[in-house]
Assembly symmetry: C3
Homo-oligomer: 389 residues x 3
């Protein structure tokens, strides 16, 4: 009898471009551009130009002498030299090649090689994006100006417990590896609504990376919410108690995940934004309530007692974590070869929700989760670790 199920009959693999590609003009790229995204720490915007790559675009971040942060297209609008080599002064950033000076909104203030500093300099504009600073992060809006929403506030970062303050982090905590992770952002974002991998990947495979309470296989309920997908996991906690954990994936890219080390039974402490750098890499910015500077950094995972960057190649193989399982899906996973099952319900819900928003934008409507009301109250999440009788 002939062999069954061999790889010879596999059709050519393909990936779902509508959900994964992020460049300007792509369906998902335009959906993502309807929201604000963190592109750096507040401390990253200084008088030294800094390279930023976000949603496939090369940009330069700086802060002028009056303290205003600016985010401009990397190529000077005059002759294309990168403004990375520019000099920042009180009024803006000046290109190294012919000295054109641009303010944080791209206005050209000086063309020193032209008569009178450029009689028609107001007719050119350096392409720029609006930015706002909040929670220690710099957020940019890269979408159509007429649809710019408010930058949301979040209750979990506004309402402090005693002694708490908000700390930002740009090291891709939660990515399980280096700051820049070489695979498509959606592979990471989907992981947020996949609680069942935890006892396998982070338990059986790596030795328990988190707390013992996370080692048990949970009972899980999935739910599509107003602006994302919510996962309720329930595990027995001894003494007849029940450990309830709620995590949320919130559009466009928010990880609303309570501490997996379950240091406390409490509402979620932090928000992580999954920034697509381009189609095949991403990084994670986090803002969280802490009591000591560096608390977020202390959440970094260890594998066999070591940090990820200290593992040998063999140890990466023997103790795989989030980085290995997600990057191990390839630069962009080939969705045509997947087989989703009932425990992947959260992923299916998230894709459907994203796809509906992609189509809403294509049809001229606003996607979920954007607000144009400057007096909108902070967004409240249910995400938490709780213990119940």
């Amino acid at each position: 009898m002939a062999d069954q199920g061999t790889a010879h009959e596999l059709p050519p693999p393909s990936y779902d471009a509508e959900l994964t590609e992020v460049r300007r003009g792509t369906p998902m790229g335009e959906l993502l551009r309807r929201y604000w995204h963190p592109v750096g720490l507040v401390a990253d915007a200084t008088n030294t130009p800094r390279r930023v790559r976000a949603l496939g675009e090369d940009l330069i971040l700086f802060r002028d002498g009056t303290g205003r942060p600016g985010l401009v297209h990397a190529r000077c609008c005059h002759r294309g030299t990168t403004l990375y080599y520019g000099k920042v002064d009180a009024k803006g950033i000046r290109c190294c090649y012919h000295g054109w000076l641009f303010d944080v909104e791209g206005h050209c203030l000086d063309q020193p090689c032209e008569p009178e500093g450029g009689r028609r300099r107001e007719t050119v504009r350096q392409p720029w994006y609006p930015v706002q600073e909040r929670y220690g992060l710099i957020f940019a809006y890269m979408g159509p100006p007429a649809r710019k929403p408010i930058l949301p506030r979040y209750e979990c970062l506004e309402m402090m417990d005693a002694g708490e303050f908000v700390e930002p982090d740009d090291s891709s905590i939660g990515g399980g590896g280096p700051a820049i992770i070489p695979c498509n952002w959606l592979q990471h974002f989907e992981n947020v609504v996949d609680p069942l991998h935890v006892p396998i990947l982070h338990g059986v495979f790596s030795g328990m990376q988190f707390t013992d309470a996370m080692a048990a296989m949970p009972s899980v309920a999935f739910e599509t919410t107003e602006f994302g997908v919510k996962v309720r996991s329930t595990r027995p906690a001894g003494n007849g108690q029940i450990f309830k954990r709620v995590t949320e994936a919130v559009l466009p890219t928010l990880r609303v995940v309570p501490n997996p080390r379950v240091a406390q039974f409490a509402r979620v402490e932090s928000i992580g934004w999954t920034l697509p750098i381009d189609d095949t890499s991403f990084r994670i910015y986090v803002a969280g309530r802490v009591k000591r500077t560096g608390d977020l950094g202390r959440m970094r995972s260890r594998f066999a007692g070591k940090f990820w960057g200290d593992l040998t190649e063999e140890e990466h193989r023997d103790f795989p974590g989030d980085y290995e399982s997600q990057v191990g899906q390839g630069p962009i996973t080939t969705h045509s070869e997947e087989h989703l099952v009932s425990s992947d319900q959260g992923i299916a819900m998230l894709r459907r929700l994203l796809r509906r928003q992609v189509r809403a934008v294509a049809e001229g409507r606003d996607p979920v989760g954007v607000s144009f009301d400057p007096n909108a109250p902070p967004v409240v999440f249910e995400a938490s670790n709780q213990i119940q009788m």
Copy 2:
């Protein structure tokens, strides 16, 4: 008078895709997939997953706890994470991400995140390929299941002389360089039926790499056989004796080449399989009759007294060998620019034979050299070094 023959008039170069490209679905790819190919040493299949790349496909080789070797598609059929990070147990290999367990034929035995380990787990199958172990090598069949031939036996590896045994080697002996060689496999395979390069490349250019008997320009006769191309080279051997050498290129990729160091006048000692890793790299597996472990490795060429890996860049230039001459043709040589002559007759014959088989497969027939008879006798080669009066 204007210059003649300048490069300005060269047409754009092209290569012969029908003969060179090896991916699934290409003409040559499908021809190659009608045969068994070595993809590792027997010792490579262990409880540690091992990456294998063959014919442009990424695969994982392992051996389950009962001793059965398995070769599966690298991407888990669930969500695409590579099984390189998997764990092997008695029954098969388990993906690191959600713990799906597959046996060596891709059956899904467990889905631990699903109720009852997956009530419908039998509806998914990890893509796999059948393997067999022989001559210290693991052979895989990557073609259509209904056309799977027997794995051939070879008389030269079955009939031992006194004290001999079969030893495998995966270091690309005969490639003249590293284990993985960065050019198209056909550039190497054609070299087998090109005896006239030996006194030039391996004599004049490198200093004689082989035995003195090989230094003379031979008289050569070429012949298309039932399953390949045979080359008979004749050289004077002193005292009125004649040194006769027969080498064969056998489909799909077999090098049947007696020891060029002519340690003995005898039938061929080894077979080399030229495994196309993808369109632009290959490696060579060898199995040969030896009297001492490591005899095959001791056949590695030296250049100016050094091994290839120890040469400086200048020494590679000054003492070119098989690696330099074949990789020096480019990743895939541009056949449109070639000028074959009478001494290239073996190459022309081999290409015609390959092309006929490509077309046979396209027309639904079997290519030469495959057998479906489990009782077929071992294949006998004429390849040998002989001395005659």
Copy 3:
């Protein structure tokens, strides 16, 4: 009010292929091939084959035993192995693979694996290009043989002042960085007719790299000449004197630029040829009148007292020069995003002149600046640094 001028509305960028791409068969590639280009130093052609890449073609430069330099297609016309591994003898270069011997004009003199050294060897020809040696450089003509012009002589390299001789240099003096510069050649060539960047880039940004006389913003007049674009810059020089500087960009790629360190007020000392290696890299060959060997090399720029190769990444950012400003435009700048202004008049003139020549060639005419008269007098340039009352 919605934001104005944000990068969201940028159309997809594009570059001007007609002016930038250099491969055989492209518009600019064919224009460039109507002229002689330096491809090495005279000292580079020896009995050791040397790799040369010019206008996107891989070539081998050598010198036969009679002293004649040869430039041939890298791939042997027999089976495609690179002649980099060839051996040079009295008559030519011999391929390592099958020993075919070619003279400097590609005639096949021997096919040692063929009967009688190849009875039909005269029917094959190794693709080659004519070369000439002058000013310490080897010039090649890579265009249609019937349109081969004379190799021009230049008055500035023919008429010596007392104690002067001509020295060649291949280190890309004037490129501001390494010998091979990773961006399109036109980004560099345009820089020659852009005198206004000097006080900005080389003054304000890098600290004055040149002489104080160059620090002032000049008055500039641009002029399209018979074979290029001429720039006359005028600066006050104290004591009522005027510093006049003339630079010229001459087709196809000549930098005719008097010493920017203004060591003397005199006619131009050197010519630089901008050789396009391929579409995204170039190098500069220079020949100049000097009094001491090494004088050209001593013109290399310093940044903060250091040579370019000794700068840290931060110092490259803080002291950008020609390399940073030109490579910082990208591998090929995206012309669609430029905004040329009045001070870019030289660049606009040069592009128009180049475009007219591209079209002349396409229409079967000769471009400007080629001569077919072996008795043509040397070309005279006005380029100079002068001081006037």
